[in-house]
Symmetry: C2
Subunit: 331 residues, 2 copies
Amino acid sequence: MRKLINAPADVVADALRGLAAAHPSLRVDPVGRTVVRADAPRPGKVALVSGGGSGHEPLHAGFVGHGMLDAAAPGEVFTSPVPDQILAATLAVHGGAGVLHIVKNYSGDVLNFRLAAELAEDEDVEVVSVLVDDDVAVEDGARTAGRRGTGGTLFVEKIAGALAEEGADLERVAAAAREVNERTRSFGVALSPCTVPAAGEPTFRLGEDEIELGIGIHGEPGRERVAAMTAAEIVDAALTAIDADMPVRGAEVLVLVNGMGGTPLIEQYIAYAAAAAWLEGHGATVARRLVGPYVTSLEMAGCMISVCRLTPELTRLWDAPVETPALRWGR
Amino acid sequence: MRKLINAPADVVADALRGLAAAHPSLRVDPVGRTVVRADAPRPGKVALVSGGGSGHEPLHAGFVGHGMLDAAAPGEVFTSPVPDQILAATLAVHGGAGVLHIVKNYSGDVLNFRLAAELAEDEDVEVVSVLVDDDVAVEDGARTAGRRGTGGTLFVEKIAGALAEEGADLERVAAAAREVNERTRSFGVALSPCTVPAAGEPTFRLGEDEIELGIGIHGEPGRERVAAMTAAEIVDAALTAIDADMPVRGAEVLVLVNGMGGTPLIEQYIAYAAAAAWLEGHGATVARRLVGPYVTSLEMAGCMISVCRLTPELTRLWDAPVETPALRWGR
């Protein structure tokens, strides 16, 4: 196991200490494991809280800041955060206008966010939860009932975050988050597995010259293992699966070509070239795009493609200023 | 070889097509292999041109934009760009105030940039070249006379770019670039090798549980191979080497903790936590910092640390707005 770590048990706390030292815009508790906007709570603003297992960085803590999340609750690597931790993040950012929980659809996350929401409501904090389940690859699995939440989480967090920053109420922010999720599909491909530090062994094995189509972001099984393919063939497989579930013809789309953590940027751009050509060739207009490692799976090699069918309002919210460690732009 | 590519011979052109499709702010020629600011040439502005082998993305093309480079000339993977290509980039951005070539100190780059500068001067374009040689690990090598240019290149491009954007003349911009290089040192560590697509074999081999201290960004040999160490020990080795060459005590420093391409962000933050603690413990003040994969080596696992001793003026220029695909902030 070749990792730049001190000890498997310290991975999350050490990384949070690094995040704290690097970003004065964040208030980080490496022991309680919460990452909060330094200017929280913002009175009168709907607060957005997300979280999940670590190992997907920059998701979620790297998306805490103006125009996106108010707090993140990072669990152990590939392990759900505990309810107390989610509760602490919720109470730290609650500004009187309610809190939106953005929850990727994994059984542990769903359960622990639900418990945290109940505890918050005991303290008179209104919480609405939105599930993200954008991954078309498989239905149900070891970790999930229904579909998994993956790359589309970034779209939900960005767009709902922009609306909350404008002062929209909890109902409207939650509705926008659900709308983005409903209009978004993702599909991932692994070229290599990854190793959870505490396990010390790869989460799965691939034969020489084998790749896995439809991989989950924790290395959960996908649809099939196939012989190595070109970038264009991999992108075709991913977008064909997405398009079969949500036709893209005639749509203006937002596309994320996402590196899984171990795939260099030059290859992500090769995949993006193929994705843009595929989408334009199938009657979609690529109106907005993002290329980079945003929703990762430790050092897994491969990529995930996420597509959102935009509306003018979603485009406007996507373009709104954002200022976080990992996503930053202004107008 | 598990790579997200179409064919080894097409890697650079395909990636440039992706870059072009993703970033309307750039004018990309995938055949001539130049990447130019869409608003170039800027009359009266000193133009900054850099380049070098591909495989280090986002360096250099990802740094083309407002407040940084005017053009980049990407060569084949780990191979210098050719003089005609550098000349084309130079002529495309020349705005009448001269052109600064920022050249990493590798023999092929030095030679080809020199030839391109001579060709440009034949066309009455004034060119000044600045060499970057920030890597303290080794003197001389297969590719280099003197020290190698590595992570510090980002500092040189950002700070010289800010000064050029303000309207400084060629002499002042070149002097600032040299000053940054003189005040910057870097040291890299490899946890795994990388494979050039056209070669199909790793550039070097590491034994089980072995890492290489002082690695070059093309996998050139470093100082020594040692048994696997913790992140804190790796950071200590890197910063001890840097500090021995350029003492940091009493300095305000800018630090880059740079992922080499295959190391996930969570590990880069673990390394940054160790680096910040080390520097503060040795009497330096970390005034500015950057954590991420900015100067990579394909899918190599590991990290490089770069340290620049700031002055108030260099800090001001570092903070100046920048708007490029890979580096973006405003004030």
